[in-house]
Symmetry: D2
Subunit: 140 residues, 4 copies
């Protein structure tokens, strides 16, 4: 297995196809079947008390697994999330970037499955875990 996209290509893809959110995400590292993505927290991500909101963490896990899939199969913007499950285990640290460590567990012809752990940067205890399933469009 080898990568179909570099970090720069993943960043370019995000900027072109998801301009509303691209500025918040930074691919820290990518390797076959795994990726690490940072969420650069800003005021729009916060809930009262300075903690990152649930939808923001969902979005981070969703983008991370998506990019892990694209890194393997190339830029197919038609891949769609079909299901996810998350556990929110600890309160994220206030006003601290989040790190999402993601691995692909399956990359089939029709479905891809990945899971992710989300950390407040600098703290080894995960704040959330997620698993995501993506539907992959047929080759045309």
């Amino acid at each position: 297995m080898q990568l179909a996209m570099t970090i720069d290509e993943l960043h370019d893809f995000l900027a072109r196809d998801f301009p509303q959110v691209a500025g918040s995400f930074e691919v820290v590292s990518v390797a076959p079947m795994q990726i690490t993505v940072k969420l650069k927290v800003n005021d729009g991500h916060l809930r009262p008390g300075g903690t990152v909101s649930g939808p923001t963490m969902f979005g981070l896990a969703d983008v991370s697994v998506y990019l892990a899939v694209l890194a393997m199969i190339g830029p197919k913007e038609l891949s769609v999330t079909t299901s996810c499950a998350m556990d929110f285990m600890r309160k994220p640290a206030a006003e601290t970037d989040l790190i999402c460590e993601c691995r692909l567990l399956k990359l089939g012809k029709v479905l891809a499955v990945g899971d992710a752990l989300i950390f407040s940067e600098g703290d080894p205890k995960p704040v959330a875990r997620a698993n995501m399933t993506y539907s992959i469009p047929p080759k045309s």
Copy 2:
């Protein structure tokens, strides 16, 4: 079982405690153990193609189950989401409000469990389903 909060009180709670998002949500109806919430879709909720983003749908389900719990137990802002699972089943209609129909399946002393169906307004086929678990703070 009877309600601890009215629709107006739920709207006031949202406006005070979640000012960033309160303007997007409207409680359509509330009854013991169930609630219907509308997401008034704006540009910030959309992905390319005009469809509502996954994190927005997650946020809608999350707020709806939360408000269903508060409607029963009164305004306790310390309730936190502990887990969720969602299936994304159809593409939401472009630039159309979403309706979330939510029921509480359990309202225990420690945990509350609810599920939700999300529809594009006017279409009877659900675009997503969700289940959410909330941790309820002990009485002080």
Copy 3:
């Protein structure tokens, strides 16, 4: 939408393809996109204290959604469960049959999604909820 299989045909399918478990399940009613299945509890389903085990409840939800799909598309034994999520909300009543009320939320070409509520017979409060996704084999 109309049914592709009757209750008798569903029972025959179970007896032929799942002989180890068929005797435990009874389809109570079936209609387009919904089914009700009873688990006739026996000693093999119980945990100490006389309560039904978690794997037994998982199996009940799994079979129910599976039969709901087959009732719509006909007997395709190649359909496979791809994902599920369950919440266990109350302890089932001791030595009491379980009733699983299931509805299909999506019946696509590739994936089917259903959810289910499980009750101890005679008690209106659900003991568990489940959602299941099935992969449907391509038409040959």
Copy 4:
């Protein structure tokens, strides 16, 4: 963090409290916040074609996370599963034991969260993944 129970004590606990299933499970290794459990597959676990059934895999993940919790907090048979999510990714190898590698992500006062990967023994590609949440009884 240190262990509250040894492998032998975990096996004794299973044999005493879950005599119906204890013979199927073998704790391969245990360490703080992680455990590996083998399912010794027998005919009762199989579906037509010789593959392990979904409820059997659910049961394996459930027991594994449960034992990982007990290994940390000691034998409290009142811990109960409150929720789970699983993805079934590949067909298990026919008539082959399953290995479940489990880690605890959170061990709180009220809730414990673990995840697990299940493998057919000898094959590095996971056949299933699971996450489980347990409710922990208060100290008496």
